[in-house]
C-alpha cells in the first residue's frame, strides 16, 4: 500500500490543477483525491466533498491532506471527525503550501514513505 494524498482548495480549478501536477509526477501509483468549491460550486470548501475526496484517496497506510486557506483546514478537520475513529487515526493535515506540498507528499508516498514521513516532507516547505 501507499499513503494517499488529498488536495482541498477553495478553488475547483486549483484542486484539479494541483492533482494534475501530482499525476504528472507519480502517475497512478499514489491514491489521490481532490476537491474544491463550496456546495454550490463557488469558491469555498465543502465537508461533503472533502469526505468524498478522502474516500477516493483511502489507503490503510494513511491519508495526508493538503489544504490552502483557513476554511479548507477547518472543514477538513470537521470531515475527519465525522469518520470512524480507526479511520481518523490514519489521517493527517499537512501544514504546507497546497500545490508544492501535494507534489512533494505524493513523491514521498510513491517512494514508500510512511504517513509521518509524507507529512514531514510536505512540511519541510513551510517556514518553521
Amino acid at each position: 500500500m501507499t499513503v494517499g494524498i488529498v488536495i482541498v482548495s477553495h478553488s475547483p480549478d486549483v484542486a484539479r490543477g494541483a492533482a494534475d501536477m501530482v499525476r504528472q509526477m507519480v502517475g497512478d501509483n499514489v491514491p489521490l483525491g481532490f476537491c474544491g468549491g463550496n456546495p454550490d460550486g463557488g469558491l469555498g470548501t465543502s465537508v461533503e466533498k472533502i469526505l468524498g475526496a478522502i474516500d477516493a484517496a483511502w489507503s490503510e497506510d494513511g491519508v495526508a491532506i493538503l489544504v490552502d486557506l483557513g476554511g479548507a483546514e477547518t472543514n477538513s478537520e470537521m470531515a475527519i471527525e465525522m469518520l470512524a475513529p480507526d479511520r481518523q487515526a490514519k489521517i493527517v493535515i499537512c501544514n504546507a503550501p497546497v500545490v508544492e506540498g501535494a507534489v512533494m507528499a505524493a513523491t514521498e508516498a510513491w517512494g514508500g514513505g510512511t504517513l509521518a514521513e509524507v507529512k514531514r516532507t510536505a512540511e519541510e516547505l513551510s517556514p518553521q
Partner: protein, 200 residues
C-alpha cells in the same frame, strides 16, 4: 421551549437570510466576501429541512441544525456555527432553564475556540458569544441586557485588529471594520431575545 422552537428556527433563519447582503458587505471589506452568501445557503438548508428538525426533541433538533450548517455553509463559518449548535444540542436538556442555557453557551464558546484555534479579542464571533455567555452565567441577565451586550460587543470588534481568519491577512488594515462573524452572532442573539420577548 418546544412550542417556540419553530418560531426560533423561522425567525433566526429569516433574519440571517435577510442580512445576507449586509454580512457579505462587511466580509468584502476585510475578508473573502462570502459570509452572507454562505450563511444564507446554510439557513435556507435549515428551513428546507425544518419539518425533520422540528420533529425531534430540542437537543437533537439543535444537533441537526448544526450538522446542516456544517454540510451546507461552505466556509469556515460552517464548522464554527455547526459547533455552536451541536454543542448546545449536546449540553441542553429537552426543557432547558436559564441556568442550562448559560452552561451550554459557555461550553459552546469553548468548543468554538478549539474548533477555530481562536481566542477572545481575535476579532471573531467569539467576541460576541463569549461576553454573552459570561453575562448569562452572572444570573442577572435580562433579555434587554443580553440584546444590548451583543450589540455593544459586535461594535467593539470595529477597532480590533484581526488575529484569526482571512481578515488577519490584512493586519492593521482590518482595523475600523466590524467583524462579519460577530455581526451574524449578534443577529442570532438579538433574534432569540426578540422571539422570547414575543416581538418576532
Amino acid at each position: 421551549m418546544a412550542l417556540s422552537l419553530e418560531r426560533l428556527v423561522d425567525a433566526v433563519s429569516s433574519r440571517i437570510i435577510a442580512a445576507a447582503d449586509e454580512l457579505t458587505e462587511l466580509d468584502s471589506a476585510i475578508g473573502d466576501a462570502d459570509h452572507g452568501l454562505n450563511m444564507k445557503r446554510g439557513f435556507e438548508a435549515v428551513l428546507a429541512d425544518k419539518a425533520n428538525i422540528l420533529a425531534k426533541p430540542l437537543p437533537d433538533a439543535l444537533k441537526a441544525i448544526g450538522m446542516t450548517l456544517v454540510m451546507k455553509v461552505g466556509g469556515a463559518s460552517g464548522p464554527l456555527y455547526g459547533t455552536l449548535f451541536m454543542t448546545l444540542g449536546k449540553e441542553l436538556p429537552p426543557e432547558p432553564t436559564a441556568a442550562d442555557m448559560a452552561r451550554a453557551l459557555n461550553a459552546a464558546v469553548e468548543a468554538i475556540k478549539a474548533r477555530g484555534k481562536a481566542d477572545f479579542n481575535n476579532k471573531t464571533m467569539l467576541d460576541v458569544l463569549g461576553p454573552v455567555a459570561t453575562h448569562l452565567s452572572s444570573g442577572s441577565a435580562s433579555l434587554a441586557s443580553i440584546r444590548a451586550l451583543a450589540d455593544e460587543s459586535a461594535r467593539a470588534t470595529i477597532p480590533m485588529k484581526a488575529i484569526k481568519g482571512r481578515a488577519s491577512f490584512l493586519g492593521e488594515r482590518s482595523i475600523g471594520h466590524m467583524d462579519p462573524g460577530s455581526r451574524s452572532s449578534q443577529i442570532m442573539i438579538e433574534t432569540v431575545c426578540d422571539v422570547l420577548e414575543g416581538r418576532s
